[in-house]
Amino acid sequence: MRRSNLTRQRLTALAFLGSFLFFSPLTLVFDRPVALLGIPLLYHYLFGAWALIIAASAWILRPDRE
């Protein structure tokens, strides 16, 4: 059960990171009329950060090897 404490801490930290990535002035930095491959920069940033958070949480919650 000790491992679950570490997992919980990591997930909470990730939640903070996510909040910062999405809801802080950092987001506004990317709110510019720039487009990569025809897609606005802000989309790239938001979806990229989103994918990062999902991947990180999947990694944190990977099942223990025996």
Binding site: T12, A15, G18, F22, L46, W50, I54, S57, A58
Partner: protein, 922 residues
């Protein structure tokens, strides 16, 4: 080809038929005990019922006008699920323990099992969610109408509405009512989850995701000139400069506050929408499934949003600005590109999104309505105990009626509202309504305070503000109410303008409403809760909720006093649940308490609580309490008693922790003691060995002394020569004896550490020479030759005790002398420098020491024989030398000398040079 109405309708109904079959199959498997849905992936997919037709169609609509706000609805939940390990885990644990079947039950059970509270929650849920259901039905109807016109893309005429029996939405509503009744009300007991239902929902989540991805991929490939949408690429190039396209590629976040507020709102909604609570908490089969959902659910949300922008782009360039509603792009783009089957797939996807939401919301709302609105009203009318014998059947009928009523109500709202603002914008407005449940629920899990009245006040205040700032203004914006109270405030009071309360302007209406409603909610909750202490029931439930992860023993058992009869409790249970089920449950409970038959159960607090919990699953906590109270006689505990009991419980926990710690310390101490004991025993044994050796050695000379003394005494006529000889023996034996005793004492003193050591700088060479002189006589007697090779240079200084060193040298030399053959004996004494000190070796040419005995010579009482039987020494000489040498950090050992004799060697580390290099004198 054209897609006629009948074809589309046929496919839609076939799809619904597929869902029926799937649910039926899953239920059958569950009954056999081979559940299909007990997998974490299915759980995560069922959570995706969060994505309804509103988001299936609406996300693209918002993206097309350049708003990114639609993403906020998904980002909030992505972050909040990261905290679900503890938050949702706690909710699930509590719900399983208390047999909670709905949001209303969760809140009401916590705050004193109040009927009023449950009723209020139900009312808020119904008012907040039924319009949302209406929106889904509208989406079904609209998408059907649009698809019907294929290959033309025409927006449905809002003025012309179909008669009810022609309206697909109506038929769908009826079918959904049937589905929900069939698969959601099979039994009353809530420990039965609705496996078939969940299977259907999970399947629908897959279908809607696939449909959206299909369109997305098609469009994306098309925009780049591949696949069937190659005209898209051309169109994009040609129209990229227009306004609509420009808006698309320069998205804005909107106000930053709105961006955050909507995310926060969505984070609350993903937990507290009735349908979310139903799938996440009530239907969950295994707590551990939450783990996978934490990343799988956000992944789903990510995927279903990935192609929103490409589809919006495709829509913008495919149609003249304003010609086609952006909300319909998901459907109309495939139509415009000549893909009827893709369009059909999208229609089915939208149908899945809508029907999934409707089914689950209806189940949860109907449970709340039957348990927390209708049943309490009925109970009041019957004044307590219901007259009917089989309440179970009646309750099921009530629940089914509720399902039908809710669906019809939703349809009615859709027909009445049409295209009004009050329907179109209901999505976030619903979210704001259910956000009012957040304060009492979060407080329920983490705060021991909070009273029934406090929760009531908070909910009522929040709901009232929500009504005033969101719902009523939406009616006004739909033209159902005069608009001026919106623009100028009621009675012209500007500070009370519904969407700019107290002058808070410039905010999105949702953000504005959220701020004020949550403030009113939390404020009223705290203020009113502070008016009195929580009572017995509230305290007990507070403990049950907040400490759910710690409690082994429920506090209820300690906090209930009264009397009851088992037969009555069982009869009560059988009234509401299946007779079989009730009996089985009681019997299993009896077995767990070590009693064979249910009838033999003691009617104590534990049993009563069990009965109450069992009933809660069927009729809700508040009603269960009332029912059980009617068949038992409870003594009310005073508040002080309750607090004492609860305090006691926490004190006991603290004590037991102390005890554990103490016992661990004790164990460590015992282990140490045992080790020490073993050591002592070992030493004791060594001491005994020593004692027996010594006494043996002492006895031998004593015996001969006695023998010879007796001879001398008994025989006065012994001649002088004999007498002299015997006396000589006596003398030497006594000498030997006293030598032995001295050595024993010496050794004992050294070993016990009581010897007097006078450590000083000693000149080894000088000591050696002195020793040689003192054994001179011995040497002469045996005609032995002594050769001394001493290191050159002055002063072989060591730190030692001079006398002791003499003792060692004399011992070594006399040993050598003893064992050297007389006449030819040759002793060599060598003093030389060694690694970090001085080495002295004494070599003789006697018989030597066999290899095997090189070490044994240093053991106490070991005697080497010199070719004769008579021992030549005491056996303690070498041990004493060893002790002395080792005391001064030296080494001593025996070797076989070249030539066969024995060589004794010792080394001593360098001593300090006194200033001037002279050895200090003693």
């Amino acid at each position: 080809m054209s897609l006629g109405g009948p074809l589309i309708a046929g496919i839609a109904f076939a799809y619904l038929g597929l869902l029926f079959a799937l649910a039926h199959w899953a239920d059958r498997r569950a009954d056999q005990g081979r559940s299909v849905i007990a997998r974490p992936t299915v759980y995560a997919l069922s959570l995706a019922v969060y994505c309804t037709a509103w988001t299936f169609y609406g996300s693209v609509g918002r993206a097309a006008s350049g708003g990114l706000g639609f993403l906020a609805i998904y980002l909030g939940p992505t972050l909040v699920v990261l905290l679900w390990g503890s938050l949702l885990g706690k909710m699930v644990r509590v719900s399983k323990a208390e047999r909670i079947t709905s949001l209303a039950d969760f809140i009401a059970s916590r705050y004193g099992k109040s009927h009023l509270l449950g009723g209020l929650v139900t009312v808020i849920a119904v008012i907040g969610v039924v319009p949302y259901i209406a929106l889904q039905l509208k989406a079904i109807s609209r998408s059907f109408t649009i698809l019907q016109e294929y290959p033309a893309v025409v927006m449905p005429d809002p003025a012309a509405t179909q008669p009810i029996w022609h309206d697909t939405a109506f038929v769908v509503a009826l079918l959904l009512a049937l589905f929900t009744i069939l698969f959601g009300t099979r039994h009353l007991d809530a420990s039965e989850r609705h496996e078939g239902l969940v299977a259907a929902i999970a399947f629908e989540s897959i279908v809607k995701l696939l449909a959206f991805l299909a369109v997305g991929l098609f469009v994306t490939l098309g925009l780049h000139g591949w696949g069937g949408g190659s005209e898209l690429a051309l169109a994009w190039v040609s129209r990229a400069g227009e306004d609509a396209a420009q808006a698309l590629i320069q998205p804005h976040l909107g106000g930053f506050g709105d961006w955050f507020a909507i995310s926060f709102l969505a984070a609350l909604a993903v937990m507290f929408l009735p349908r979310q609570f139903q799938v996440a908490v009530v239907e969950i089969s295994d707590e551990r499934h939450i783990q996978r959902a934490i990343w799988l659910f956000p992944l789903y949300l990510f995927l279903i949003n990935l192609f929103v922008l490409p589809i919006a782009m495709a829509g913008v360039i495919s149609f003249e600005a304003g010609g086609v509603d952006a909300d319909t792009f998901v459907l109309t783009v495939p139509m415009a590109l000549g893909q009827p089957w893709l369009a059909l797939f999208v229609f089915i996807g939208g149908l899945s999104a809508a029907t999934g939401m409707v089914i689950v919301e209806t189940i949860s709302l109907s449970t709340m309505v039957s348990n927390d609105l209708l049943l309490p009203a009925l109970l009041r009318r019957w004044g307590g105990l219901p007259p009917e014998a089989d309440m179970g059947r009646l309750l099921l009928r009530i629940r089914r009626g509720a399902i039908l009523a809710i669906l019809l109500l939703g349809y009615l709202y859709y027909r009445l509202a049409g295209d009004a603002y009050a329907l179109v914008s209901i999505g976030l407005i619903s979210f704001a309504a259910v956000a009012q449940f957040a304060p009492p629920i979060i407080a329920a899990l983490y705060w021991r305070g909070g009273t029934r009245e406090g929760a009531l006040a908070g909910l009522a205040a929040g709901f009232a503000v929500w009504l005033y700032t969101l719902l009523i203004p939406s009616f006004a914006k739909s033209g159902w109410l005069p608009l001026d109270f919106l623009d100028q405030g009621p009675f012209g009071i500007a500070a009370l303008k519904p969407q700019a309360l107290l002058g808070l302007e410039g905010l999105n209406e949702i953000t504005h409403a959220l701020i004020w409603s949550l403030t009113a909610n939390i404020g009223a909750f705290l203020l009113v809760s502070a008016r009195r202490m929580p009572d017995t029931e509230e305290l007990a439930q507070a403990s049950a909720y907040v400490d759910v992860f710690k409690h082994q023993r429920r506090p209820h058992q300690a906090l209930w006093r009264g009397s009851a009869e088992i037969a009555e409790l069982m009869a009560l249970a059988e009234r509401f649940l299946d007779k079989e089920r009730a009996r089985t449950a009681f019997t299993r409970f009896a077995n767990s308490r070590g009693v064979a038959k249910a009838a033999d159960l003691p009617a104590d607090a534990h049993t009563v609580h069990f009965a109450e919990t069992l009933l809660s699953g069927a009729i809700g906590g508040a009603s269960a309490r009332v029912m059980v109270a009617s068949v038992t006689k409870e003594e009310t505990l005073g508040l002080d008693e309750v607090l004492d009991i609860l305090d006691e419980a926490s004190q006991i926990r603290a004590y037991s922790r102390e005890l554990e710690r103490k016992s661990q310390e004790l164990e460590a101490a015992t282990a140490e003691l045992r080790a020490a004991n073993l050591r002592l025993q070992e030493l004791d044994r060594l001491k005994d060995d020593f004692m027996s050796s010594v006494t043996h050695e002492l006895r031998t000379p004593l015996a001969s002394i006695r023998a010879f003394s007796e001879i001398l005494h008994d025989d006065p006529d012994l001649d002088v020569e004999e007498r002299q000889r015997f006396l000589g023996i006596l003398v030497s034996e006594t000498e030997r004896l006293s030598r032995l005793v001295n050595q024993v004492l010496d050794l004992a003193k050294i070993e016990s550490g009581h010897a007097d050591w006078q450590t000083e700088d000693v000149d080894l060479a000088e000591v050696i020479e002195q020793a040689a002189i003192s054994v001179g006589q011995l040497l002469q007697d045996g005609a032995l030759r002594l050769e001394m090779i001493l290191a050159k240079g002055g002063g072989a200084l060591v730190r030692a005790d001079r006398d002791r060193l003499m003792q060692v040298m004399v011992n070594l030399l006399s040993n050598a002398a003893k064992f050297s053959p007389p006449g030819t004996g040759f002793i060599q004494l060598h003093l030389e420098g060694a690694d970090a000190g001085w080495r002295v070796s004494v070599t003789d040419n006697g018989p030597g020491i066999p290899e095997a005995e090189l070490e044994r010579g240093f053991e106490k009482f070991h005697q080497a024989s010199a070719g004769g039987n008579k021992p030549l020494g005491t056996g303690l000489g070498l041990p004493i030398c060893k002790q002395i040498i080792e005391y001064f950090d030296g080494r001593i050992w025996a070797e076989v000398a070249p030539g066969g004799g024995a060589r004794l060697v010792f080394e001593l580390p360098l001593g300090q040079r006194a200033p001037g290099g002279k050895a200090e004198s003693k």
